[in-house]
Structure formats: structure tokens, C-alpha cells
Point group: C2
Chain length 226, copies 2
């Protein structure tokens, strides 16, 4: 098998395959066919096979894919077989909810520090996260990656401050940013950014329920996973 260029859509679907496979593994399912996996996600069997085949011949003809084996492989591809340390900036409503979110730890992401610019927040302990994390002032962010070993940053500050904080994160050695602020960040090419803008998602929903196309009785696909 050749190491071709992997399509971007394939990479996005990998996470959904993994999610479903982990669920199957939890239910004790041993093997799954491309058809079964695809049906659960609204994809064709050919799509599933082609996606997975980019990374190696994981399937077993006549059998399908071994669930536990495939889970391991996809985790390694996505990089979630290792533990990632992350810092969070912004201890407002959203930031605190994110800090308390169990899903991060479950996927191997460890929050090592939380920062905020508001002096009233600084020094407060965070509820919900098992560790004894205390909010620090954002000025202490410099060097965080070196000192704490963090390579990922979660950005949960207002739009106006997002670019500035992103710059500080990068200066501190952060290599990947999960951006909850409703702006497009400008970053050097070696830094990765994934955006999570709730307003944007809401607009997609609004469009599909009552936007221009829906108003014209268009029987389009109404599912948007990503």
C-alpha cells in the first residue's frame, strides 16, 4: 500500500469511526463490517473501506474489521494514544465548564493550568476538575509550555482578546490551539488551530430548519456532524 496524500474529509471522519468503534467495543462487539460502520454514521460502505485503507490493510476479508484492533490503530493515527497536556485561557462560564468537562481526560487530554486576565478570578480554585488547579494570571502564561510540558491551548476568551492571547500562547510554546472565540486567528503555519464557534453551528442549524433553501422545500440532507 502506498503512502498517498490523505484527503482532509477522511481525517475528519476518522474521529467518528473511532467514536462508534469505542462504543461497539464497550458493548462487547468483536468485529464490524464497513457496511455496519457506515450505516451508523450515514456513510456508504465503500467510503468507510477507502478511508481506512489509506492507513493500512486493517480489514479481514469475509470477517470485517476487528473492533479493538481498529480502535488502537485509529488512536495511533490521530495521536490520541499518547497523553496531551493542555492549558486553558479564560475562566468565564465557558472556560469553567470546559475545565470541568470529563471528556477531555477520558480522551487523554490533561489540563495542567488555567489562566485569566481578570484579577478577581486569579487565585480561585476550579471546581469539577479533580486536580487542585488554581486560576493564574494570564501574564504567567509565558513559558508555560516549557515549564509544564503543555503543547495544546484552549482559548475561551472574548473575541477582542483572542488574537492577543493566541499570540501569547504561541510565544509560550503552544503548538495547537482549540479556539472557542468567534474570530479567525492568524498564526504561523507550524501552529494548528481548530475552531469551535457555537454561533456558527447555530447558524447552520437555523439555515437547515428555516433558511433560504429550507423555505423552498428542498429535501436536502439535514445532517451536519462536522
Amino acid at each position: 500500500m502506498k503512502r498517498a496524500e490523505i484527503p482532509v474529509p477522511t481525517i475528519k471522519r476518522l474521529s467518528f469511526y473511532l467514536r462508534r468503534l469505542e462504543e461497539c467495543a464497550g458493548r462487547g462487539v468483536r468485529t464490524i463490517s464497513s457496511k455496519q460502520l457506515g450505516d451508523a454514521l450515514g456513510l456508504t460502505d465503500a467510503q468507510v473501506r477507502k478511508d481506512l485503507a489509506y492507513f493500512g490493510p486493517f480489514g479481514h476479508p469475509g470477517i470485517g474489521y476487528r473492533v479493538k484492533e481498529l480502535v488502537q490503530c485509529i488512536r495511533r493515527i490521530l495521536g490520541t494514544d499518547k497523553t496531551w497536556k493542555a492549558v486553558l485561557v479564560g475562566a468565564g462560564n465557558l472556560g469553567r465548564a470546559l475545565a470541568a468537562y470529563r471528556g477531555f481526560a477520558r480522551k487523554g487530554f490533561e489540563l495542567v493550568a488555567v489562566y485569566d486576565a481578570d484579577p478577581r478570578m486569579v487565585g480561585q480554585p476550579l471546581t469539577g476538575c479533580d486536580g487542585k488547579i488554581v486560576v493564574r494570571h494570564v501574564d504567567e502564561l509565558a513559558g508555560a509550555a516549557c515549564d509544564l510540558g503543555a503543547r495544546l491551548g484552549i482559548l475561551a476568551v472574548p473575541a477582542e482578546q483572542a488574537q492577543d492571547v493566541a499570540d501569547r500562547m504561541i510565544a509560550a510554546g503552544i503548538r495547537g490551539i482549540m479556539n472557542f472565540a468567534p474570530v479567525s486567528l492568524t498564526v504561523p503555519p507550524e501552529v494548528a488551530v481548530v475552531g469551535v464557534d457555537l454561533a456558527v453551528r447555530l447558524e447552520q442549524l437555523s439555515f437547515r430548519v428555516g433558511g433560504l433553501l429550507a423555505a423552498e422545500g428542498n429535501p436536502d440532507s439535514l445532517q451536519v456532524e462536522d
Copy 2:
């Protein structure tokens, strides 16, 4: 201009155009060229023009696009020129953070009720949201859309309950669901679903920073807005 089929990627980008345009409008910018708008979002000028031209000849040759005019048009296309009423199910960490999130109201989404299955939650008032919203029991959801006029539902419950609650929402008349649970929902074709799975996004970030491709020194695009 003919009413052709609009590409899905175009629809997704519309939200990002709008976000940028609203920011420009706020700074008093009157007109913007496809080049300027594209650069801010990492797209080509041709892409921007083609996307916008699907919906009408909004541009003015030699001038560009009038910002306020275009904001209005895109809002109408997306359906965010109207107010949408929504219910939220799940008053845990995430649910409460979402209820307090100002961005919803700012985009014209009005939260009219919040539900939870935990009896300890029921009856508690929600902090952060200006209204006097009290958590109700999820059994009261039936008929919510009729009674309160809600057409959108925000699903912030654990994965195990997500499908069941989605079914109840649909029975209650909800037509669009924003799903924060890490599962793919099965819904009738006339119901729209947009998923927001933080674990999935985190995996995308992990992949780009240290996954299989990154490990091989691949100089791919590291930006994922959506």
C-alpha cells in the same frame, strides 16, 4: 442568475463570511473586496465571489461588496434575520454554561425552557440568563414546541440518554437539534441535526499537532475552522 444547487461547503463558509463582515461593520468599514474577505479567512478571492454569487449579484464591480448590505443578505439566507426559540435539555456543567452563553441571544436565539432528568436539578433557577428560567423535568418536554413556540433543541445530556431525549424532542415538535452528546443521532429526514463534539475536535487538533501525518513532517494546512 439561475437557482442552481448550492454546494454544502459554500453554506458552511457563509457563516464565516458573516462573522467577518459583522466585525468589519462594527469597525465602520463600508465596503470590502472578495480578496480582502478571503484573505481574512484563508480563502481565495474566486472562492468568495463564487460562493456569494450563488445567492445573487451582491457585488459592485470596481467597488466590492457593501458590508451592511451583505450582512443583511447573508442573515436572510441563513435564517438568522428572524428570532428562533429553543429549548435546552441537560442542566449539567455544559448545559448551564450554554444557558448563560450570551452569543445565543446575540444571534437571535432565545432560550425558552431548560429541562433535566435529575430531580435535584428540577426547580432550580438558572444563573446567567437574564430571564427567570427554572429547570423543569424532562417529562414536561412533551408539547413544549407547541406551548412555547420552540422549534430548536439543544441537547447537552450524556451519550446514553441522547437518542432518547432526541426522540422526545422530535415528538414535542422540535425541528432542529444541536447535539453536544458524542453520538450520531438517528432522526427522521425532516429533522435537522448539527453535532458539536468536543472530543472529536480535540482529536483533530491532536492529529495535526502530533498524529501520523505531523510525525512525518507533512507541511499540510493546519487550520480547521469547521
